[in-house]
Symmetry: C2
Subunit: 408 residues, 2 copies
């Protein structure tokens, strides 16, 4: 399956700078996608996300399936209408959350029966129902329903799991091909976006992508041979893009990298590659250098709520008493609206006083830092000096635990 | 004591539209002042408050005295520098909070010894220390330290309390006269504001008010004779403005109004009058009609956090299931950024899911509603048809409990 949804515009070593074309605008890659689990990036209004330059958001099918329900969202125009966000959205399939959040799950070939983490109610997700849910939500990029192999796992079990994920991927694609026309937005609503908002830069009328894009997911646990086989089988099924899933589940950083390196050669050069659930600021630069085009992680937003701020000089725990009278900005090299206006002393006061504005401002800053990092990555690829940026983030990474503690 | 801090520009019956001139800009009156207890209006960035047209904020001396401490704030440039807010600020004296929040207080002629509600630590506030704290905080309008008479109270005790408040007012004024030069901002910082920010509309260089303004407070419990006597004694001491305190402490709405009506004739016609802790949207219109120039209340911000929204058609409890699929805005007649972008269905989802964006957006809407109400009051006074607005809010007031419940 081939589409023109992705164009590579520059290369630097293995890294690529490109453009993912969606029905709700182009997304410049490599891109970091902020996580908006329940159709909201916690504490941050959509207009602020636009101001930050966010071109694509991630939302979680599992959470929205339970609350408020995918049918409700479909009736309100899909996620774009529901949350009033005219730019691109990606939804995960719910696979990861079923395995990490729900109780009493029973995995069968048909699908997964599980109990809601909210009220214990019994639910069922399968390749077909997860794809149907994602068509109802109407995200621009949707993901195949996979089994996220637990860590650590024996080779034999990892193989069985990977093989089931491959069979599920085929069922997802079949269901998607039969039902892709049922997406809640169509020609008309996309056209409306184009004329109603100066913020919507590229409508599908320009890009030619009037459909959702279904991506496949590579699994295989921590076994390079299984990763390679999974990549081969997933590519054989054929998707417009491929994700590497089942990583960042408790293994070491070096093992994550090993698995990514084992997978990448087996993915098509000209299609987008999405590394799920990664990572720290230095990791997103490192993986972009390896040729990853898309990443997402709760780290910048969750850390912000715990008072942990990312800066050009490493991490900073704002609750630290040393900031009580510090009139400087969080990061003198950051141009975000938080650094432009508020002092470390004020942010420390908000955090120490348990004020809700602390999470709001901290989240805005951390997202600005991540998005700015990715902007620099894209710039460096285009100017072919990504090595300089890599050296810079590697040196900061060494200092990164001096001012705070990691909440992850 | 007379200053040119207040100019009345129009009258309609007893109501007045005017202008309070402060070192940090003019404030159009009648004005509703949002409450920013700990130097933050919970969840709302200062730039959003500016966008809403907030010209003056209230902060609480008691809370800031305990955390982060008034000396810390002085060293960071006073409240304006600390919270990065270049417009006007009013601080209460801490009197009300000492009586409502702290434990084990001992009231003596000298002042009040009390234990912090945070950690039980022993503190002391007196007319002198409360005034010193407010000079350190550097708000544009500061309040005399008063005893907030508890309700209900015998006439004799209310008299004793009122008399002590009057003696305290004299001490506050004396201390203020001797120390007013110690405010953390001066000619220089105010000038800096003028040149550094396009948002600072009126610097003190224009207004001629380079000093803080100390207001007196009328007490007297629920006794009209004591209110009258308190007003007389406070006016005799002489302040640039007068507050009516000790109301909205549990008495009926009609009794509050009775006390306000008993007090107003005894306050100077040409000076600002501030009714503390009031009120609902219809009350702020009613009291403006009686000749009140300034009001503050936690209601719009606190109610927002409980999912209670004020609209042109009455109150609305957003958690109600009837809004689950409601694509309309909170208030079709409201032009705020929340009503312009988000549906009731989305706001209900945020609130039901306990998402922090719920409080942020609800607070922005409620503040917009209150500020817009006051804008209409000022307009109506200038056009001399305040009666029409009064009839309108009275009819909505009758319907106001149909869609929600009051969290107050």
């Amino acid at each position: 399956m081939s589409t023109d949804c992705f164009q590579i515009e520059a290369r630097c070593g293995s890294a690529r700078a490109g453009r993912l074309r969606t029905a709700h605008g182009d997304v410049e890659t490599p891109v970091f996608m902020p996580v908006g689990t329940l159709a909201t990036v916690k504490g941050v209004p959509q207009e602020t996300l636009e101001e930050l330059g966010v071109e694509i958001l991630l939302a979680n099918t599992y959470h929205l399936f339970l609350r408020p329900g995918t049918d409700t969202i479909r009736q309100l125009g899909g996620l774009h209408g529901f949350m009033s966000w005219e730019r691109a959205i990606l939804t995960d399939s719910g696979g990861y959350q079923v395995f990490s959040l729900s109780d009493l799950r029973k995995v069968r070939e048909e699908g997964v029966e599980f109990r809601s983490h909210l009220d214990g109610a019994l639910h069922f997700l399968s390749p077909e129902t997860a794809t149907a849910a994602q068509i109802a939500l109407g995200a621009d990029v949707i993901m195949a329903f996979d089994e996220c192999t637990e860590y650590p796992t024996e080779h034999q079990h990892a193989r069985q799991s990977m093989e089931m994920t491959a069979r599920w991927a085929e069922r997802c694609k079949k269901y998607f091909e039969e039902h892709r026309g049922e997406v809640p937005w169509g020609q008309v609503s996309s056209f409306k976006f184009q004329v109603s908002s100066s913020g919507a830069r590229n409508s599908k009328l320009e890009t030619g992508n009037s459909s959702q894009l279904l991506f496949g997911i590579v699994q295989g646990g921590m076994y390079a041979d299984l990763r390679q086989e999974s990549a081969g089988r997933t590519v054989e099924i054929g998707f417009p893009g491929y994700a590497i899933g089942g990583l960042s589940v408790g293994e070491s950083r070096s093992l994550t990298r090993e698995m990514v390196e084992a997978t990448l050669p087996h993915l098509p050069q000209d299609q987008p590659r999405y590394l799920m659930g990664v990572g720290t600021p230095d990791e997103i630069v490192e993986y972009a250098a390896l040729g990853i085009d898309m990443m997402d992680c709760v780290l910048p937003t969750r850390a912000a709520r715990h008072g942990l701020l990312y800066t050009s000089e490493g991490k900073l725990a704002i609750k630290n008493a040393r900031f009580a009278q510090d009139e400087g900005p969080v990061d003198p090299r950051c141009g975000c609206r938080v650094c432009a206006r508020y002092s470390r002393a004020y942010l420390r006061h908000l955090y120490s006083s348990n004020e809700s504005l602390a999470a709001v401002l901290n989240t805005i800053h951390n997202l600005a830092f991540y998005l700015d990092t990715m902007r620099r990555v894209r710039q460096s690829i285009k100017l072919r000096h990504l090595e300089a940026l890599l050296s810079e983030v590697r040196s900061h990474s060494l200092n990164s635990s001096t001012q705070g503690e990691d909440p992850a």
